[in-house]
């Protein structure tokens, strides 16, 4: 790589990060908006730029199944998908996590059918939130590139051994071109290292049975071990990010707090919408309002301690969910943030807004209106708005 900087779409950056990681096996099936990741990667394979076995399967179900076979065999396995593709993988996602296979998957977030919609929202990965995968949500293309390079280290860490999804907003990040600072191929190779599993299928001298049946006498313990591994990932994700930061100068934590130090009100969000909210926060600050923003980079494991530490002192908070959970008060992020704040000695008033479904833009004016409602609730001049939809007609 001669240029240190490049203008890349999110998909191109994901493919480039994968080229530098150079997984042993990639299995993939195309779906909008992530298709370009594997198209670009396939060109790398065609050009002989990577030594990766490409398994071009007939469905996403088979893509994840092949990743399970490859990872269990001892290979570093990666794939990419979106939306319906992730939904079709659903069954195998649980198996990948249950077998403790460190597969890494780039997910360009997209709405789920019906109605058919190819545009961005986070319903797809929210539907997989209990599958046992680590879920990291990125704000921009640079963070996508950096996070994908960190993902194998997190997944394959002996204290973790769990698959990782790196989630980036469909179109907003997958198709938008941004300036990305790239790392040297060798530097990435050194950082990610070689995957050397303790037990693997191809070790014919030491045969193991993978994927056995566990009856009620053992199943619970296997599941608890997954939970414990996910808890340990709370330590390992920042540890890997810290090492990445020390080597390459860009640090990423479990959360991104923006102007929260002295804030009274804040919005909480996942993904690229943080950029919009930071603009709104700046405008609020200009007129003297103590506004801030919290973005969760990790949703699984859920960074409860940071969330409580950062949000409990505030007066009013709005949770922006880019996925709904019909039949509950609001979206999944809202539920979980309210839940972890319950035990805090003091806690803010909390509102929930479902926004951005099926690619609908969040306008600065709409986000500002939410902040203004928080401002009134913080001042005690109005009640906090009940949970609802941001920008929905009739």
């Amino acid at each position: 790589m001669s240029n240190r900087f490049a203008a890349l779409t999110g998909n191109q950056a994901a493919a480039l990060a994968m080229r530098q990681i150079e997984p042993d096996v990639c299995a993939a099936y195309p779906i909008t908006p992530s298709t370009q990741v594997m198209e670009t990667y396939s060109q790398y394979v065609a050009d002989g730029a990577v030594r990766t076995e490409l398994v071009l399967v007939e469905s996403e179900h088979s893509a994840m199944s092949a990743c399970v076979g490859a990872a269990c065999a001892g290979a570093r396995a990666m794939t990419a998908t979106s939306s319906q593709g992730l939904a079709l993988m659903h069954e195998v996602l649980y198996i990948a996590a249950g077998l403790r296979l460190p597969i890494v998957m780039a997910v360009a977030n997209r709405a789920l059918s019906a109605p058919l919609n190819i545009h961005g929202d986070q319903s797809d990965t929210m539907g997989s939130r209990d599958a046992g995968w680590i879920q990291l949500y990125v704000r921009d293309v640079q963070e996508l590139y950096d996070t994908l390079i960190q993902a194998p280290r997190i997944a394959e860490h002996c204290e973790v051994m769990l698959p990782v999804m790196v989630c980036f907003d469909g179109f907003t990040l997958s198709h938008a071109i941004e300036r990305v600072e790239l790392l040297e191929d060798g530097a990435v190779r050194d950082f990610v290292g070689v995957y050397r599993p303790e037990r693997y299928l191809l070790d014919v001298e030491h045969p193991h049975t993978f994927g056995p049946a566990l009856l009620p006498d053992y199943y619970t313990e296997a599941k608890r071990q997954q939970r414990e591994a996910m808890s340990r990932a709370l330590e390992i994700i920042p540890h890997v990010a810290l090492e990445f930061g020390a080597r390459f100068g860009r640090a990423w934590g479990m959360v991104e707090a923006y102007r929260l130090e002295d804030a009274e009100i804040a919005a909480v969000v996942l993904g690229s919408t943080a950029g919009t909210l930071m603009e709104v926060v700046d405008r609020m600050r200009e007129r003297g309002v103590r506004a801030g923003m919290l973005r969760l980079r990790a949703f699984r494991p859920f960074p409860a301690e940071e969330v409580v530490r950062l949000l409990a002192p505030l007066k009013a908070v709005a949770i922006f969910d880019r996925a709904d959970s019909p039949g509950t008060p609001s979206g999944p992020l809202y539920e979980e943030i309210r839940s972890v704040l319950y035990d805090a000695p003091a806690r803010p008033r909390i509102s929930g807004m479902v926004y951005g479904l099926g690619g609908r833009e969040m306008l600065v004016e709409e986000a500002s209106a939410t902040y203004e409602a928080l401002e009134r609730a913080a001042a005690g001049t109005a009640e906090i708005p009940p949970p609802g939809y941001l920008s929905a007609r009739g």
């Binding site: 042993d24 076995e53 195998v92 049975t209 994927g211 056995p212 053992y218």
Partner: protein
């Protein structure tokens, strides 16, 4: 046509019996189940180290209940419908890691074990995909003609008229409507280099083993459809598994053949074809059909026609039907 080692050097049954079992005893398969015999024969037929991939089914739940395992070869079970795709991934990993020098540089073989449910039905797409991609594996289908692991429901391998728990015999319906799917033919249509049908028998004890050995030399995907008698689902006494299997072959209900590089070969031609009634009357699942003369004649006609087609494909002359049917074996059937 590719070369194969074992055709010239058959190993005696005595020698084979002295080999260590790669699937140990003590597993939980039913008495009389053909599956363990098939797995052991497959594993003993390979001169290469085998990596097994298994679909969910009777074999999985009976041989891997944690913390025990009956497997002495590496085995991966993923889910019900994705054994072929899983094998594609494992085989791709094998090629990648071997090329990079991360595993010893030697030949391994990938063998999938899946039932007819996991192959004919829910796993059909995954199988078709792996065949088209050219995954180098041997896919063994244990065809026991139904969803036996979940309690004997019909599959698309279930024969016409069979009594199953989802095609029960009633006043209005006489068991499973419709003929079984010709999966072996469908696999042949994928141009896989090696495709065969076989079954564990006493009269041709090397048939299964030899086919496995040939399949493992195939340069691409190999598929063997193995009839796997099920004492519970077919309703016969456990001791009769091999005898029942023999009837399937002698009635031409389940012919033994191979298709190597698209060329059809018949492995066994009975001198006289036994009537299909011998097959039907030996099993409780067909008991209700025995007095349905027209339906039995219809089944016979279809079996005859399929057999004739097979003979033609294999370039064989037709076989006379037995003029006097041998005595029925209905006494062997149980409910």
């Amino acid at each position: 046509m590719f070369q194969h080692k074992t055709a010239t050097a058959p190993v005696s049954l005595k020698k084979l019996a002295e080999q260590p079992d790669l699937l140990t005893g003590g597993h939980r398969l039913c008495a009389g189940c053909a599956e363990s015999a098939i797995v052991r024969q497959v594993l003993m037929a390979s001169t290469y180290p085998v990596v097994a991939i298994m679909a969910t089914g009777c074999l999985e739940v009976a041989t891997t209940v944690y913390p025990a395992t009956a497997w002495r070869v590496p085995m991966l079970h993923n889910a019900f419908e994705n054994a072929a795709a899983t094998a594609s991934g494992a085989e791709a990993a094998y090629r990648a890691l071997r090329a990079k020098g991360r595993i010893p540089d030697r030949e391994l073989r990938f063998v999938v074990f899946a039932g007819d449910g996991g192959t004919y039905d829910i796993g059909f797409q995954s199988l078709s995909g792996a065949l088209e991609r050219g995954t180098r594996f041997l896919y063994i289908c244990f065809n026991n003609e139904g969803y036996m692991n979940t309690g004997i429901q019909r599959s698309s391998a279930t024969p016409l008229g069979a009594d199953t728990s989802t095609t029960p015999v009633g006043e209005a319906v006489l068991g499973k409507p419709g003929w079984r799917k010709d999966l072996t033919g469908i696999v042949v249509a994928h141009n896989a280099p090696y495709v065969a049908q076989t079954a564990p028998t006493a009269f041709r004890p090397h048939d299964l083993k030899n086919k496995v050995a040939r399949a493992l030399e195939a340069p691409g995907p190999a598929f063997i459809n193995v009839l796997s008698a099920c004492t519970r689902g077919w309703r016969y006494e456990p001791a009769d598994t091999i005898a029942i299997t023999q009837l399937a072959i002698d009635t031409c209900y389940w012919p033994l053949f191979e298709v190597i590089d698209g060329k059809w070969h018949l492995n066994y031609k009975p001198k006289q074809k036994r009537p299909i009634m011998d097959w039907l009357s030996a099993q409780g699942r067909f008991r209700h059909l025995l007095k349905q003369g027209r339906l039995v004649a219809e089944i016979q006609a279809r079996i005859d026609s399929e057999w004739d087609t097979l003979l033609e494909r294999c370039g064989e002359a037709p076989v006379a039907a037995a003029s006097v049917p041998p005595p029925r074996k209905a006494a062997g059937a149980s409910d």
